[in-house]
């Protein structure tokens, strides 16, 4: 992070070492959280009469296709994991970007849903258009819908100061109920008696990486079971764009400046309101893209599964665990995707309820939060002692910046 590297440089004679140390500590906190969660999970499994080794073996099998004992197909397991992690990357970015600007986007789920709705609406209405036209159209529609949904929050925050946590959560409900209306009795319903929408036209399908054929046999199974799709490339591109925008553009600089200190950013000539609105627009576009890709590549129609979908909430954990960096988000998404895919295998093979996966996810989040508080406690006296720092830096502002840095802890990683 440009701003704080400079300040660290002014403070310490050897500029690189503290930032590296902090990055290593941040990584250690994250890895420690994961290890802690798995150890405590093992205790829970053992305490409830299960076998933790068998449970984790099955979990690894289901997630990565390794150490399988029940005859699972490794390719199938990896493919399932990739299908689950793809939307997590895009929604993870949608949460991480506002974090950088000091905003908490709890509404990635709602933005994902409206993205899926817009993609479906366009894909059904213009079902006969060719791929070259329709596919970009549905993806852009999804991004635009997500951007509008989050943009409302940005405008409210910038103009009335309405807290984005409240408004994003509320808009999640609006999106879910809008979806319920649209596919149950509403204009997108397939036909009476179904709680799904009509399927999108073939031109709106994002292709799979392997042929969707029931007769071609790959790794001993029909090729169509491997649902791994080109949406993965879209997601990786989204992560790369996020990193580029954040570190290599004026907008990214403004986002980080506003996140560090709104006062300082304003003093430096950054329009805080404009940055907040733009941040939410871009963030919503990423989440909307996640929804559109899910429809275009996997589901091909809206279903009642979105009533209880949790991708946008898991994304908060992914963004936190991934330190808000592009590479970190991808890694965290791999972990969460593998946990999701592995949970089913764990239940089928080891007889351990798939709910353990949710316990693990919650424990990871919990220990990140706990460590965050601890590091905050450790840092505060250090700031007080740093009398050699420039007088211009007001202690309170510095403390806020330190808290944000602790939350992001990004130096040397991105």
């Amino acid at each position: 992070m440009a701003a704080s590297t400079t300040s660290a440089g002014r403070r310490a004679p050897a500029p690189l070492i503290p930032s590296i140390r902090r990055a290593v500590r941040a990584l250690a906190v994250r890895l420690g959280s994961v290890v802690f969660a798995f150890l405590l999970g093992a205790v829970i499994v053992a305490a409830t009469g299960g076998n933790p080794v068998a449970a984790y073996q099955a979990l690894i099998c289901g997630g990565f296709g390794l150490l399988c004992t029940g005859g699972e197909n490794a390719g199938l397991q990896i493919s399932n994991t990739v299908v689950f992690l793809t939307p997590l990357i895009m929604t993870g970015v949608a949460v991480a970007l506002p974090f950088r600007a000091g905003l908490f986007n709890i509404g990635a789920e709602g933005q994902l849903i409206v993205g899926a709705i817009a993609c479906t609406a366009v894909g059904v209405h213009f079902a006969t258009l060719p791929t070259a036209v329709l596919l970009p159209l549905v993806l852009i529609a999804g991004m635009a819908a997500g951007a509008c949904w989050a943009g409302v929050v940005g405008v409210l925050k910038a103009t009335t100061g309405a807290h984005e946590v409240v408004t994003t959560i509320m808009l999640n409900y609006v999106a879910q109920w809008l979806l319920r209306y649209l596919i149950i009795g509403g204009p997108l319903q397939l036909k009476n008696g179904f709680s799904v929408s009509s399927p999108i036209g073939a031109g709106a399908h994002l292709p799979r990486l392997l042929p969707n054929s029931n007769t071609l046999i790959i790794f001993g199974l029909p090729a169509s079971v491997y649902r791994i799709h080109t949406g993965l490339l879209v997601a990786l591109a989204a992560a790369a764009i996020y990193a580029f925008v954040l570190w290599r553009t004026a907008f990214g600089y403004e986002v980080r400046a506003v996140g560090q200190s709104q006062k300082a950013a304003r003093y430096a000539g950054v329009s805080v309101r404009r940055t907040i609105i733009l941040t939410m627009l871009v963030s919503g576009a990423f989440a909307g893209l996640a929804g559109a890709v899910q429809i275009a590549a996997v589901d091909h129609n809206l279903t009642d599964k979105y009533f209880a979908d949790t991708t946008g909430f898991d994304a908060i954990a992914v963004a936190l665990l991934g330190l808000g960096t592009a590479a970190g988000i991808v890694l965290a998404a791999i972990l969460f995707g593998a946990l999701h895919a592995g949970g089913a295998v764990m239940q089928a093979d080891a007889g351990i309820s798939g709910n353990l996966v949710y316990v693990l996810q919650a424990l990871i989040l919990f220990s990140i939060a706990a460590n965050f508080l601890r590091s905050l406690k450790l840092r505060l006296p250090a700031i007080g002692r740093a009398t050699g720092t420039p007088a211009a830096e007001v202690p309170a502002t510095a403390a806020v910046a330190e808290v944000r840095a602790a939350l992001h802890d990004d130096e040397g990683i991105a």
Partner: protein
Amino acid sequence: MHPGLRIVTALAAAGALLSACGTSGTPAASPTKTIKVGLVTDIGGLNDKSFNHLAYLGLTKAKTDLGIQGDVTESHTGDDYIPNLTNFASKNYDLVIGVGFLMQQAIGTVSGQFPSVHFAIIDGVGTDANGNDLKHSNVESLVFKEQDAGALVGTISGVLEKDGLTPKKSHKISAVGGVSIPPVNHYIAGYKWAAKMQDPTVKVLVGYSNDFTDPAKCSGVANSQISQGADILFQVAGGCGLGVLQAAGQAKVYSIGVDADQKSADSSVIASALKRVDVATYDAIKAVKDGNFQSGAVTFSLQNDGVGYQADNITLPADVMAAVQDMTTKIKAGTLTPPADIPDPTVP
């Protein structure tokens, strides 16, 4: 967490891992070929006190009685249906059972990929994206005449209202459906039809929560019906519907459970409409074991005791019991046929 405490936790976990290692080396050997059955629940999960639970009971009974291997995977989101079904099918299970109408399209897709694996689906058929039955020869549809069960509890409600034995004597009853899909509407159709037959003045309010899992959504619909005067509420919404039973209990009116005997869910439950998903699941497994797998629809009705009713927390008067007995006899004899679609949907 305190550093010391963390070390203790870590040690405890390591100890648990080590002790577990010691016991994991003795897998049960099974030299003979056993039939393998995989059960995939819908998002209601195993503890829905409703049809997922019943399917599990059927599987458990088959494990004990038939000596099969039965494994279960719960679906946590709709994204899980295809991976969970595929997981069992790819491991060459003999029968893969999908529980619930919501899994129709997933069953349609996966059964096409694994033509040599038998599939069964409760409450539905294997469909394509347009909702059309693909009629795969490896798919058995276990469907129920829910309207028969609905007619029995509708008869109970109708006679109670006619006799003025209900909490508010309002001649108004209601049903809370999950989503307006055929298995739900069958129940409500039989219920409304039979209640009106017993008490022509009765009004039958019908509402939908558009949800099968969240009790809060169903209690909202139920409370609105109670405020309109309904004093017997029939829940047809799986786990969501438990909210109906509780809302009825709080308002001191009667309720009727669905699928399984839900007597214990709330003291307001006077009867339950039963759908013997356990029987259907068991029969499907037994057929595969005996080599009698049959594709297409297998219908469970009052005729073959595939549906029924259970009287619960109140003692039903003699004339109610007589009317239910009469209805049962007539449906079984074919002289009365409850409708599959809700009669006069616009008139309460």
